[in-house]
């Protein structure tokens, strides 16, 4: 063995000391076939980021990343191109994307924050219908921002959702019929399905104002209110239908479950105890304002914000309750929100609402897990992985976590991901696919892509 290195050392004389190592191994497909890949999902699948859809986000979607890795497999790897309903530019569709910029506060100072793209102008090109120039006009990524499992039976869905409108082949149909059309069109050999988050997220981002009981009734035909939690039976019926339809032409695939949405920066960035009192006189004054009630306690340092809960009660929040990222901070700073005035209920997730979110997520994830088992598909446990990301992962020298902006994984809307975040998600999916199908798909170099960009 040592002799090899002695020879190697001498060889250095002639090869000018250019050692090389190649430890790449050709990826293999294992028990699956990746020749034709169809991605089904919502905004996370579409590549939505920074509160909008724009072409750079789409080109960094996790299905795009997965396709690129599938394409490196020789035998039964992905072939051809990956067709996504791409927009024409980076303005944002239909509204502006967010960028890092200087935000002025009511106190007259400025700090870095997320602002709407200043030079936004809606593109008329983006509003036009997307027609794929691929074989059979195929579209491989049919992720629709905003879509819920509950929406899959809603007729004329293409007219209700501006993202669906861009590429649905028939605007009068239901998403299920659209899915059937796409499956017959693409003939997928492999599918990924990441659906279900919006069936609970709408309730959460609405501050828990809707029906979170899991027994909501439709408001019009089969349509449920955007801020309601989808009834479990409805979720099961259509989730199972979507899976069955997606694999109906013999595809194998991976089902990705619903992440713990209460751990995302949209809910965790503003702490419920963010009321900082620097002078005793201020604490005394607040205590007086609330009649020196024993239900209110203000002291020096950090205090729980005053909130209005879903019953209309004004009270001090309790630890664990969530304040939404969309809460206008100027109102807290200069209009006494959270102190002399309550933070309105649409910006607050109370303990009870939190419980409703968590139990709905658990119920839906059971349905997803059962569907994976029954159909012998890979299950990607993104719910647990969010916990891992919450405590932070280090990748090639960069620390990623669920912190807003500094965590690098979540985009400026605090819900969707950065290109690096999507690559991390794609790696988690690859890991689950490899485990299930005995494939050896190579992990993605996450740091090759962008995180948060600073001006």
């Amino acid at each position: 063995m040592k002799k090899i290195y002695i020879i190697g050392a001498l060889a250095c004389l002639f090869s000018a000391c250019k050692p090389s190592v190649n430890v790449t191994v050709p990826p293999t497909a294992g028990d699956a076939t990746f020749t034709s890949y169809l991605a089904i999902g919502n905004s996370l699948t579409a590549g939505y980021a920074d509160n909008s859809l724009y072409v750079t986000g789409q080109l960094n979607s996790y299905p795009q990343r997965l396709f690129e890795q599938f394409a490196t497999i020789g035998d039964r790897g992905a072939k051809g191109k990956f067709y996504q309903p791409l927009l024409t530019g980076d303005m944002g569709y239909p509204g502006p994307r967010k960028v890092v910029g200087l935000v002025g506060s009511c106190l007259g100072d400025t700090s870095l924050g997320a602002i709407d793209l200043p030079y936004f102008a809606a593109s008329s090109e983006d509003a036009k219908a997307y027609v794929s120039d691929g074989p059979n006009h195929q579209i491989n990524n049919i992720g629709v921002p905003g879509i819920r499992i509950a929406d899959y039976a809603v007729p004329t869905y293409g007219n209700l959702n501006p993202y669906a409108k861009r590429f649905y082949h028939d605007l009068t149909t239901t998403p299920l019929e659209e899915l059937q059309f796409r499956v017959n069109n693409v003939h997928p050999t492999f599918v990924t399905i990441w659906l279900g988050a919006n069936d609970v997220l709408g309730f959460a981002t609405g501050g828990g104002q809707g029906d979170g009981s899991g027994n909501a009734l439709p408001i019009f035909g089969p349509l449920y209110a955007s801020d309601a939690v989808t009834p479990t039976a409805v979720f099961k019926r259509y989730y199972d239908t979507v899976v069955a339809m997606a694999i109906s032409v013999g595809a194998r695939g991976a089902l990705i479950n619903i992440p713990d949405i209460t751990a995302i920066p949209f809910f965790t960035t503003i702490p419920s105890n963010g009321l900082y009192i620097s002078r005793q006189s201020l604490a005394d004054s607040l205590n007086r304002a609330y009649g020196n009630s024993k239900d209110f306690a203000f002291k020096l340092g950090y205090n729980q914000f005053i909130v209005k809960d879903h019953l209309g009660h004004i009270r001090q929040s309790v630890p664990g309750e969530l304040i939404l990222l969309t809460t206008p901070l100027d109102s807290i700073t200069c209009a006494a929100w959270g102190s002399y005035r309550a933070i309105p209920e649409q910006y607050v997730i109370t303990t009870e609402e939190l419980q409703q979110i968590r139990s709905a997520t658990t119920r839906f994830n059971e349905i997803i897990a059962n569907a994976a088992t029954r159909n012998n598909l890979a299950l990607v446990d993104m719910y647990s992985y969010m916990g891992t990301l919450q405590s932070g992962i280090v990748y090639n020298g960069i620390k990623y976590n669920t912190s807003y902006i500094s965590g690098s994984a979540f985009s400026l809307d605090g819900v969707h991901l950065t290109p690096r975040g999507y690559a991390i998600v794609a790696n988690k999916i690859i890991e689950s696919i490899n485990a299930k199908y005995h494939s050896t798909i190579t992990a993605i170099d996450v740091n090759k892509y962008n995180g948060i960009l600073f001006p």
Partner: protein, 408 residues
């Protein structure tokens, strides 16, 4: 309230540091050509480095100068691909003056200026490990005035005071990007100095057998007052203020035992064995203490946990004639870097060294030496867990050098 936006610290991922191989063994050309041995034989005035105890055996005053060219290359590969460090050359030098003060004297005096530590590696700016290191450069020169005394025909001793001076440069990408997606960078530049000593005993058991025992102390390089320069997006200038920093770098202690033997009756062949025990475990962690802190710019503490190493060196010198000698040698140099701490600023691995050289004495008082060292590390699958960076590394280097010395 907006402050929380960036409140969490974006801690610099890992201020890389010098790796193991930052010890150089190139201080004398004949010794280099003999596998780096030299504790047991005071071949020339460069014994000031190899064994100060041998200085009193140099019969005249001698002046010695050498220069070398280190040409390393390191390959890195992971499952996603491979790359190679950019071509670089380093040119360490050594100068020695000294000898016995007059013929027949027992007292030797001398001064050595030599390069015992140094390293550098330059990766492509966009390589996978850029958030750990893009480029690093360490140069360190020791100045060593030395006294030696011949106690008897058998025993001589010597010791020298070391003043060390060095520079340290590091560049790495920071995990914040500008609007074009370009990484921010951090540059550290430090100049430092430190003191220590080098002592040795030489025993000439017979005309054909001798021994050497030396000890060179640890030198702590104090890099306080170094400058840290951050090239960051304009909006983050206040969060990454250019600042000064301090750091303390240990240059490890080394104990050496050497034997030299002339097995042939004609005494033309010299065989040498040296064992170096290097106290790398003093390099427990690297700390960079910035003098200015912000939420994002915090002091750095990167664990190293080096272990002590025992290097085995073998060499031979054959005197073909009064004018020409040839040398051959080799060494096995185990790495102080333990598994889990292999990082790309100097991805060290056990190394195999092969050396050769020749000496020509065209004039009675004048000698020319040429030597060449070939080093190859063993391929190492290593990870730096602190930054979760892993891969396979392979380093090679070729180091030719020349020296001249003159006996006054």
């Amino acid at each position: 309230m907006k402050k929380h936006l960036l409140a969490a610290s974006l801690v610099l991922s890992s201020f890389a540091s010098f790796g193991a191989g930052y010890q150089l063994n190139l201080q004398g050309l004949r010794q280099l050509a003999m596998g780096g041995t030299g504790a047991a034989t005071p071949w020339d005035i460069s014994t000031i480095f190899y064994n100060p105890g041998g200085l009193a055996r140099i019969k005249t005053i001698q002046a010695y100068a050498s220069v070398l060219s280190i040409n390393p290359g390191t390959a890195y590969g992971n499952f996603q691909g491979s790359t190679r460090s950019q071509a670089q050359s380093f040119t360490p030098f050594n100068i020695y003056v000294g000898g016995t003060v007059k013929e027949g004297s027992r007292l030797g005096l001398g001064l050595g200026i030599y390069t015992p530590f140094g390293t550098g590696i330059k990766w492509n700016d966009d390589w996978a490990g850029r958030y750990l290191v893009q480029q690093i450069d360490l140069k360190c020169v020791f100045v060593q005035p030395t006294v030696s005394y011949k106690l008897s025909e058998v025993w001589s001793v010597g010791a020298g005071f070391i003043y060390a001076n060095g520079t340290f440069d590091l560049r790495q990408a920071l995990p914040v990007q500008n609007g074009l997606g370009e990484d921010a960078t951090a540059k550290l530049h430090g100049v430092g100095n430190g003191v220590g000593f080098n002592a040795g005993i030489h025993m000439k058991a017979s005309e054909r057998l001798s021994f050497g025992l030396t000890y060179r102390s640890q030198v702590n390089m104090d890099l306080s007052g170094g400058s840290a320069t951050f090239n960051v997006p304009a909006s983050l200038k206040a969060t990454f203020p250019n600042t000064t920093f301090g750091s303390l770098l240990p240059l490890p202690q080394v104990a050496t035992f050497g034997i030299a033997l002339k097995p042939l009756n004609n005494e033309r062949l010299t065989l040498a064995l040296d064992l170096n025990y290097t106290g790398w475990n003093s390099y427990d962690s690297l700390r960079i203490d910035f003098d200015n802190h912000t939420a994002m710019l915090q002091n750095m503490h990167a664990p190293r946990h080096y272990r002590n190493t025992l290097t085995t060196r073998l060499g031979a010198n054959y005197k073909i004639s009064k004018v020409v000698s040839v040398m051959l040698g080799g060494a096995y140099d185990p790495t102080p870097v333990v598994n889990g701490f292999v990082s790309p600023e100097l991805p060290d691995a056990d190394r195999v060294v092969v050396t050769t050289g020749a000496a020509i004495k065209p004039l009675k008082r004048f000698t020319i030496l040429a030597a060449c060292e070939f080093v190859s590390s063993l391929k190492r699958i290593g990870s730096y867990n602190y930054s979760n960076f892993a891969g396979t590394y392979w380093t090679q280097a070729i180091t030719p050098g020349v020296a001249v010395y003159y006996n006054f």
